[in-house]
Amino acid sequence: MHKDNNAVRDEIIRRSGVNPRKCMRCGKCSATCPAYDEMEFHPHQFVYMVESGDIEPLMNSKSLYQCLTCFACVDRCPRGVEPAKLVEAVRLEVIRKQGANHLKADDIPALVTEELPQQAIVSAFRKYTK
């Protein structure tokens, strides 16, 4: 397992407040998921992959956006793992990564012109400085 993966994993765990180690691999989340068939990675895999730091494939997978955030898995998980919150945390990871590639918060002031609406500046900060 790569060290960087651990850093990303820890960040996702911190952000989501989910402890994937609580999972007992019963698969009830996947059993309960209404979007299962659309997904490449299913909810139980999601939990397992975050636990093992295998996050890159998740970030690149469309599965991330096929989760309806219906929270059925959160409701029914007998261990209180809350898979949907992990999905959301990985989504945020993607957003932030993209943000970093695209523009750094520090770069913004230089780009600010008088014509630029205030709101745009605020939302840029909001987006890129999470």
Binding site: C26, G27, S30, A31, C77, P78, R79, G80
Partner: protein, 664 residues
């Protein structure tokens, strides 16, 4: 002032090798209270013990200190020696100068110095010792077994066979418990009734056993060997000693709409009923919630048809008081409620049932006479889905279900699946599992047979949702190994509901001052070494009230509990440990702190009249320790802020004297 003798043992060279024993006995001579001090090669030998005995007599010793090996080795020996010389055995203290001194130090000077300090500490303690006499209490030679399931039955039979009278208290109208409701038993597939009912008959016929059915324990007082118990015999409106169990009343009763508990409510029974054919006692009971006569005085048919004249509508609850020497809790279990598990549609469809209901459905004496028929339409189900771990192994934060593994579900589900496939080979049987847990003799073989010989589909995964559609149940589940979501059109879904202790256990534990864990299972005195005893002396545990277990385990524990009870009842008198807590009533303020930390319920409160400083009298609430129950842990002594509670043999003053001697 004590007259103390000090006896320093060489233990051959074990002690003398690194401790100058001569110097130790010399140094201790000048300690306060010491009038005699000597050393000898082997204090524990006959000759060594004679030295002690002679010195006790010659120097009129009131206490002795033996500087030797660990008290765990020879404290008992030297106490006996002292007793033989007429000295109270609790006037003996051991200074451990072998294990905790000579064996761990290499240098003679170091070892000697430490041995002297350890000796001084022991002398300081003996100076404050007082003779102690173990308390004695008589034993009532009768046992009470609470719960009449297989656990209670086995315990009662074993105790009764040993010649002691036993009473069984059972809340239901019959004994038999859960086992009576089962169809077959794993892994041998014996018919449950075939092996249980003979035992029930044995109980009924045993001269040493009394059965209080339809009764409950309402009050427990006293302590080990001397419990005072009040039992409420609920009115069953039938004279037990007159009823012949012929069953005519149950046939004639016009009110037949009461849900039949024995069949898990899957059919109905009359208001006057006998739970099942082999019930013990085989006596009818009138259910006051359904009987028209009792509700509004209209009917009375059963009384008319009863040739024995056993019906008595005026019967009242009756309180029976009895004394017991030992109490066995055997309160058993129940499946948990499925209310919090909406996803399985248990409350929406009659065809989603629990495993215990399935037992009744397959039982020849059940509502379908043993034919496996769907509760909704009486059709034969062709696809059956079994779901494991329903409510077991749930994290506490999930706020439903239980954290523990219910232990029996894997095996009974394998049994159900196998029997179904055996009787109805045209049925598809799916079992969804998280893990299959089969530790036990012939258990895994049994499970493998279900898979390999009977073709049960075991799927690693869980059912997420059951939706009734028409007369079908749409089961959505995961197959983790195939990494697929499955959609199965099932006719019947069977839930392996977690088991939980019976609701009566908690109030009973309070009455018994027996401790419970957070799941309301009784706590054992020691999880490994005393698994059938409660920490409360004289209270024993049998069966699932202590934790989930199957029938063979339950029976083993039942017999083990019986053996413990027999051991207790065989004694004429109980000798206590004299190192028990005692409360100085003049200082006690009755705050209840000690009572709350006592693991044995040994502390009670009494209102006593005291002379107040102003020469008036006042009633004060003070703690009183039952020395027969106290085990001498000392938790109460620290909980007590006023120091009213102290521990014999380890008094505050004694321990502080040791501290002082060591820190000097």
């Amino acid at each position: 002032m004590q007259r103390i003798g000090v006896f320093v043992c060489w233990c051959g060279s074990n002690i003398a090798g690194t401790v100058d024993v001569e110097a130790v006995s010399e140094a201790l001579k000048s300690e306060p209270g010491v009038v005699f001090s000597t050393n000898y090669q082997y204090m524990c030998s006959q000759a060594g013990q004679d030295i002690i005995k002679n010195a006790i007599a010659e120097h009129k010793l009131t206490g002795i200190v033996v500087c030797s090996c660990s008290p765990r080795m020879h404290e008992a020996t030297f106490r006996k020696t002292a007793a033989a010389a007429g000295l109270n055995p609790y006037m003996v203290e051991i200074a451990n100068i072998r294990e905790q001194c000579s064996w761990i130090h290499k240098d003679m000077a170091t070892g000697t110095e430490k041995a002297i300090i350890l000796g001084k500490a022991a002398v300081a303690k003996v100076n404050l010792n007082a003779p102690l006499t173990p308390g004695e209490s008589p034993v009532t030679k009768r046992a009470l077994v609470i719960g009449g399931g297989i656990a209670g039955i086995q315990t009662a039979l074993d105790i009764a066979d040993a010649g002691f009278p036993v009473d069984i208290v059972e809340t239901k109208p019959t004994i038999g418990g859960k086992m009576a409701q089962l169809d077959k038993t794993f892994p041998t597939l014996d018919c449950a009734a075939c092996i249980l009912t003979p035992k029930m008959v044995d109980v009924a016929q045993h001269e040493n056993i009394r059965i209080f059915s339809y009764s409950e324990v309402v009050e427990v007082g006293g302590f080990v060997g001397n419990f005072d118990v009040k039992i409420k015999k609920k009115a069953r409106y039938v004279k037990e000693d007159v009823c012949t169990g012929c069953g005519i009343c149950t046939e004639k009763c016009p009110m037949k709409k009461a849900p039949n508990e024995f069949n898990m409510g899957m059919d109905n029974r009359p208001a006057v009923y006998i739970p099942f054919a082999q019930a013990v006692p085989k006596v009818a009971t009138i259910d006051p919630n359904y009987c028209n006569m009792l509700k509004n005085g209209k009917c009375g048919l059963c009384a008319k048809v009863c040739t024995a004249g056993a019906i008595d509508y005026t019967q009242k609850d009756e309180i029976i008081e009895e004394k017991y020497g030992a109490i066995v809790a055997a309160t058993g279990f129940n499946p948990i409620s499925m209310d919090k598990f909406d996803e399985y549609a248990y409350n929406q469809s009659k065809d989603v049932i629990t495993s215990l209901e399935f037992e009744r459905l397959t039982n020849a004496a059940g509502p379908t006479a043993g034919k496996l028929l769907r509760p909704s339409d009486g059709e034969h189900p062709h696809t059956i889905v079994f779901v494991q771990c329903v409510g077991s192994r749930c994290a506490a934060c999930a706020e439903k279900g239980k954290e523990y593994c219910s232990k029996i579900c894997c095996m009974y589900t394998a049994k159900h699946a196998m029997l179904t496939r055996d009787k109805y080979p045209d049925t598809d049987v799916y079992v969804f599992y998280i893990d299959v847990r089969t530790p036990g003799k012939s258990f895994d073989e049994f499970y493998r047979r279900a898979v390999e010989e009977y073709g049960v589909h075991y799927i690693k995964g869980m059912v997420g949702k059951v939706s009734p559609e028409g007369n079908k149940l749409m089961v959505q589940a995961s197959d983790l190994l195939a990494n697929k979501q499955l959609h199965i059109e099932a006719d019947l879904v069977v839930l392996a509901a977690a088991i939980e202790p019976d609701k009566s256990a908690r109030p009973l534990a309070t009455m018994l001052t027996a401790s419970m864990d957070t799941n309301d299972f009784f706590t054992e005195a020691h999880p490994k070494l005393r698994p059938v005893e409660s920490p409360t002396a004289g209270v024993f545990l049998s069966g699932t009230c202590q934790g989930p277990k199957d029938i063979p385990e339950t029976v083993s524990q039942a017999s083990a509990a019986a053996a413990k009870v027999i051991g207790l009842l065989a004694k004429d008198k109980l000798t206590g440990n004299p190192c028990v807590a005692h409360s100085d009533e003049l200082m006690c303020n009755g705050c209840s702190s000690c009572e709350r930390v006592c693991p044995y319920g040994a502390i009670t409160y009494v209102d006593k009249e005291f002379r107040m400083p102003d020469r008036t009298t006042a009633i004060r609430r003070v703690a009183s320790v039952n020395t027969a129950v106290c085990q001498g842990c000392g938790a109460c002594t620290v909980a007590c802020p006023s120091g009213a509670m102290d521990l014999n043999g380890f008094k505050n003053a004694q321990i502080m004297a040791e501290v002082d001697a060591i820190c000097k």
